[in-house]
């Protein structure tokens, strides 16, 4: 199966089966889904936090670049979002 292509200018949402939250016991952000848990430590959790149904990939990158001026984070953010999209954690709104 080839990886699905992530469109960069459409708003991103969490898949409806998922729940994203901070877990004190794990000291990490986590994604919850039926019978499972995915830990999203560090920057992955911070990126996921920005997925709110209104921001697109481009907007998320722009936002983070503004937060951390001078840091080249574009590729890392893109990698993570593509991973999350490929895993079906997130989807683009039409």
């Amino acid at each position: 199966m080839s990886d699905p292509i992530l469109v960069k200018d459409r708003p991103l949402s969490l898949q409806k089966q998922f729940r994203f939250q901070w877990e004190p016991a794990q000291e990490s952000y986590v994604l919850l889904y039926p019978e499972g848990l995915i830990k999203l430590p560090g920057s992955s959790g911070e990126i996921m936090k920005l997925i709110d149904g209104s921001k697109s990939v481009d907007e998320i990158i722009a936002y983070l670049e503004e937060q951390f001026p001078g840091v080249d984070l574009k590729n890392d953010v893109l990698d993570f979002l593509e991973h999350a999209y490929g895993k079906n954690w997130i989807c683009t709104n039409d």
């Binding site: 004190p24 016991a25 889904y33 039926p34 019978e35 499972g36 848990l37 830990k39």
Partner: protein, 385 residues
């Protein structure tokens, strides 16, 4: 589907998964039911709504994130709505496991509003219902109605079908039924032999030939249907030579609370001798999980005997299932006899051999089968007291 226990990055300090068996009452009589044989003894001592909310709160504080609401048939209670909404406000991902009986438009709307994460619909294929299903449309219609409700409320349609000797030859029909119902995920799990299913084991265990055919049918169907419906086929562990990593280890991620408040490291543990399982009425969850002797009894590896004690696989399968070891060898600290390194493995191979012999058709053996019903449960309680 990835299960909790398979995520390697987590070092659980507390339970991750709480299963609330809120009642053993059930309108069905499945011959493979894994509720305890004496389940009828819990009817008068069921926990109250407040008791349950306390259990959820305290377990959540320990780090639990997944909550299963099951039974019996959980919808026999009228406070599931409160449990769902309170638990999901606490931060749980809430799963409801139901046969669908009692799932009305009104109730499912309340669950959705309360934040219920998913519904697993089990196809309670007792032989009786199977016959109903195969010979009339009654059951199918009820299930289809419920399936439609589930889809209308924007939940994926997760269907659990328990397979056994008496229904496994009807894989074609079962899969067609699942497709007609619009199922997204179908778990085709062979029954495990505990409690009622152990009593009925010789009638339930499929032959190798049956298993092979059923798996072939499943694969053919999978090819035909593609990604639309995901199929999971699970063979009985008696046909394996290594045991399942039961509960991902005793007291490691899973905590079961029975209708009468007994806290257990797995659904079946109540049967184990020599352990006093704590009751949530008498203790808080923190003590139960961390301190109680019962939850520590088979935690880790120190309880293990040979061949597990020096086996390289002990961190992988934890020596298998304590209940199966006890049920079949009489000692819960023995290696699960499914393992071919166990000196008791012949118990398994003998059963498997028996299962290869032809048996009379289902209709003829019906009177010998033990239906999971209140009358049989009370009779078994009387027999043992």
């Amino acid at each position: 589907m990835e299960k909790i226990g398979s995520v390697p990055t987590i070092k659980p300090k507390g339970p991750l998964w709480v299963n609330a068996e809120i009642t053993y009452k059930c309108p069905l009589h499945c011959v493979f039911c894994y509720n305890p044989l004496d389940y009828a003894s819990t009817f008068k001592s069921e926990l109250s709504t407040d008791d349950w909310l306390k259990v959820f709160r305290q377990s959540r504080d320990l780090g639990a994130v997944q909550l299963g609401i099951s039974g019996g048939e959980p919808l026999m209670r009228d406070d599931v709505e409160i449990m769902v909404s309170e638990a999901s406000q606490m931060g749980y991902y809430v799963n409801l496991l139901t046969s669908g009986i009692g799932l009305t438009e009104k109730r499912i709307s309340a669950f959705k509003e309360g934040g219920l994460g998913q519904i697993q619909l089990s196809f309670q294929d007792s032989t009786k219902e199977l016959n109903d299903f195969l010979s009339s449309t009654k059951t199918f219609e009820l299930k289809s109605k419920v399936a439609k409700l589930i889809k209308e409320h924007d939940y994926p349609m997760v269907l659990n079908v328990v397979l056994h000797r008496l229904n496994i030859d009807h894989m074609d029909q079962i899969l067609e039924m699942a497709e007609a119902m619009g199922a997204d995920h179908v778990e085709l799990a062979n029954s495990q032999y505990y409690a009622w299913a152990l009593k009925n084991r010789s009638y339930l265990m499929p032959s190798e030939e049956q298993l092979r055919k059923a798996e072939e049918t499943t694969n053919r169907f999978r090819e035909k249907i593609g990604n639309k419906m995901k199929l999971y086929f699970i063979v009985p562990d008696y046909y394996a030579n290594r045991p399942k990593a039961c509960m991902n280890g005793w007291g490691s991620v899973f905590l079961n609370v029975a209708p009468d408040g007994l806290a257990l490291p797995c659904h079946e543990a109540r049967m184990l001798p020599g352990l006093t399982f704590p009751n949530v009425r008498d203790h808080d969850m923190e003590w139960i999980w961390n301190e109680s002797p019962a939850f520590n009894a088979y935690r880790g590896e120190s309880w293990m005997k040979e061949p597990c004690r020096s086996c390289d696989d002990r961190a992988k399968d934890f020596g298998g299932c304590r209940c199966q070891a006890f049920q079949l060898t009489g000692d819960a600290t023995n290696t699960d006899p499914v393992c071919d390194k166990s000196e008791h493995h012949h118990i398994i191979t003998e059963q498997v051999e028996l299962a290869q012999k032809p048996q009379p058709p289902a209709a003829d053996i019906k009177p010998i089968i033990f239906y999971r019903d209140d009358k049989n449960s009370k009779a078994l309680i009387a027999e043992n007291s």
